[in-house]
Amino acid sequence: MSECESLAMRDEPRAAASAMLAHEGGLHARPAIKVVQLAKRYAAHVWIGTAANGPWIDAKSIARVMAMKTPNHTMLYFTATGGDADAAVKALAQLVSDEFRISPNDAG
């Protein structure tokens, strides 16, 4: 089952947020690690994508987020389901807006 299908099958309300990636080198190793570390701070299921309607990648999977190889100046979309979904997508969009300057230890 693809991640798109697993997301589509969920009837729960979804939180969503987006932010423009403006970081030299795009979503390379270090920014990808920060995204995953921040996503993991939330209980919600969190996905990342480069279009508003997906396809969606599990934002807590470091191998998958790094494999996106998202170039700079790409709009990043986050969607999430679960109790702290709103907080998760807001924090992730903020991390991107801040060009990943937030230490994972300070966020969330």
């Binding site: 190793a29 690690i33 701070r41 999977s61 470091i62 191998a63 230490s103």
Partner: protein, 133 residues
């Protein structure tokens, strides 16, 4: 030094101390300090190789009650790591796993997963996902 026993530990074993230290530097700089981490490499004469005693020390140094994953480069690094695990106290042995993953990338992936508080099996999967893709 802080203790980070709430997260799974990482031990990096390479034939080259430079590779092992370099991979550990990448983990510290890219992932941070929330993961117990130790590295070892080279034989007792200062040449390339791996050393069971050094691996045992690294395992003790990066010990976490939630377990330790061992990242190895090839050949003797893996067999010596398995011998080192056998030298641990019996109750510790089941908490150590050797990952089938590239040593540098796998170390960073495993540490990222561990830093989020994941259990040892998820940490191992994160490292090995690179080979299974």
């Amino acid at each position: 030094m802080r203790t980070h026993s709430r997260n799974v530990g990482i031990v990096i074993v390479s034939h080259s101390p430079d590779v092992a230290k370099g991979a550990a530097d990448m983990v510290r700089q890219m992932v941070g300090n929330d993961v117990p981490l130790a590295w070892c490499g080279g034989n007792a004469d200062g040449g390339l190789g791996t050393n069971v005693e050094a691996i045992v020390k690294a395992l003790e140094s990066a010990w976490s009650d939630r377990g330790v994953v061992v990242m190895v480069d090839m050949g003797g690094a893996e067999t010596n790591s398995e011998m080192a695990i056998e030298l641990l106290p019996e109750k510790k042995r089941p908490k150590v796993v050797v990952c089938n993953a590239p040593v540098v990338e796998g170390s960073v992936m495993a540490a990222t997963e561990s830093s989020g508080g994941s259990a040892i099996e998820k940490v191992r999967q994160a490292a090995e996902e690179l080979y299974s893709r």
